[in-house]
């Protein structure tokens, strides 16, 4: 296990073209020593789930600024589960109104990061998710 690196998929589902945030996060996670698979814009939930499977990532991060998160996030979760990736945590970033936080968390989203979230916090959260999962694997 000497060579273990945390692998994160950063994806932008849906149709908005604002990928600055996703790129900032991708870079910050790389600087935190993680391997970031960046899929680019306009990904369907099916594409994201398939990429998560092929890349065997530890965590999936979605960046959504279109307002379509209540439609996209459950669909991504469902597709991940269909691929046997029930245990892969989902993290969401972007513009998510406060009222939608609780329903998204109820869908199995592990954290939501809005504008102003520190990249250190995001990296630390992802690290803790992976450690929790690794602990579960050993049990």
């Amino acid at each position: 296990m000497s060579n273990r690196a945390i692998r994160v998929l950063i994806a932008k589902p849906g149709l908005d073209g604002h990928d600055r945030g996703a790129k900032v996060i991708a870079r910050a996670l790389r600087d935190a020593g993680m391997e970031v698979i960046y899929t680019g814009l306009r990904q369907t939930p099916e594409m994201i789930a398939e990429a998560a499977l092929q890349e065997d990532v530890d965590v999936v991060g979605l960046s959504i600024l279109s307002g379509a998160h209540m439609a996209l996030v459950p669909r991504v979760r469902q597709m991940l589960n269909q691929n046997g990736l029930e245990d892969v945590p989902l993290v969401v970033g972007g513009i998510i109104p406060d009222d939608d936080h609780a329903p998204l968390m109820a869908l199995g989203v592990s954290a939501i990061f809005g504008p102003g979230a520190s990249t250190e916090d995001i990296a630390a959260h992802i690290r803790s998710l992976v450690e929790a999962r690794a602990g579960g694997e050993m049990a």
Binding site: N3, A5, D31, G33, E35, V36, I37, Y38, M47, D56
Partner: protein, 338 residues
């Protein structure tokens, strides 16, 4: 692990993804899975794709994979990107250019970071290719940035090595310096719709005439006069020479991909036609065995040495009391059983 291997053979994509991670992480026990799977390898045709950053390798792999899918071949792709030497992290962005392949069950794309060790990458990449091979993909494309020795080695560990160039990336001397021409079985000038493409093609062809070992037995053009080149060629190789073709493509427009596919097929037929394929495989296996032997011996030596031995000698070398090779001799002498 063995169970994962059996699931991989049965076509389970999740098992393939997991085993690829285990290979990358050098997870304990993965050797057993690889040993089981080895009997199922040797069927895929492996093409290495390398070139400088920005030449359009990922787009080319995307276009090639699409074309191969169109003729019914399944395609496994291994895309290697560099790890940051400062943080150990990496951004693996090759999938951005491979959007067209998403959702196709006959394609499997895996991104791999170069991580720390030189030898480790070559081993992980070879094993990853074997996993894709055992999983039954007809064609395995391995994409690496042709920037470092180990990346170039990976692209070479293929049946056909494709070197991608683009117009405007430096003159012909750059191409010789980088040492990329010697390893190419097929040369691609991508982005051929850009100005300067004709010059790049001409420069590459000129360099090939002068520099490629296969071309030396040919007549070369010198001041407009054809002259026989003098270099001796051994008899076996002379029977069938492969001179790397230069193919122009615009990968993002799917232009020239048919020609490129034809060139790959021609090289494959050339290899299969004579002793060349067997010889190439034997040479590659010999290189791999040497690499593995070196890695294994090194690991064993480091494990067998007293923990502080290396650090203590490093201090002596730093103080100029001992030269580096002398220090290594002492380390060797300190190994048990010597």
């Amino acid at each position: 692990m063995i169970e994962l291997a059996q699931r991989l053979i049965a076509g389970d994509r999740r098992a393939l993804a997991r085993l690829l991670s285990h290979v990358e992480n050098e997870r304990e026990g993965v050797e057993q899975a690889l040993a089981v799977l080895f009997a199922h390898t040797g069927r895929a045709y492996v093409v290495g794709v390398t070139g400088a950053p920005g030449t359009g390798k990922s787009s080319l792999v995307n276009a090639l994979a699409k074309a191969c899918r169109a003729r019914g071949q399944t395609v496994g792709i291994l895309a290697v990107d560099p790890t940051s030497p400062f943080t150990g992290g990496a951004i693996l962005g090759d999938r951005i250019r491979m959007r067209d392949l998403a959702g196709d069950g006959g394609v499997f794309i895996r991104s791999m970071a170069t991580r720390g060790s030189l030898g480790g990458l070559a081993r992980a990449a070879r094993d990853a290719v074997r996993l894709l091979d055992a999983a039954g993909f007809d064609l395995v494309l391995v994409e690496t940035v042709g920037a470092g020795q180990s990346e170039v080695e990976i692209a070479r560990a293929a049946h056909t090595t494709l070197v991608v160039e683009a117009p405007g990336l430096g003159d012909d001397v750059q191409a010789i310096k980088a040492g990329m021409l010697e390893i190419a079985d097929v040369l691609v000038v991508n982005k051929a719709d850009r100005p300067g493409a004709v010059n790049t093609v001409r420069a590459l062809k000129a360099m090939l005439e002068l520099g490629h070992p296969a071309a030396r037995s040919q007549m070369i053009s010198h001041h407009g006069r054809l002259m026989p080149a003098a270099a001796p060629v051994n008899g076996e190789e002379n029977a069938a020479l492969w001179i790397p073709p230069v193919v122009q493509t615009v990968a993002t427009e799917d232009q020239g991909i048919g020609e490129l596919l034809a060139a790959l097929d021609a090289h494959r037929a050339y290899l299969a036609g004579g002793e060349a394929l067997a010889r190439r495989e034997r040479e590659q296996i010999a290189i791999e065995l040497t690499d593995r032997l070196r890695d294994t011996l090194l690991a064993e030596a480091l494990a067998a040495l007293p923990p502080a031995a290396l650090a203590a000698l490093a201090e002596q070398v730093q103080a100029r009391e001992l030269d580096p090779q002398g220090a290594v001799q002492r380390l060797l002498a300190a190994l048990p059983g010597r």
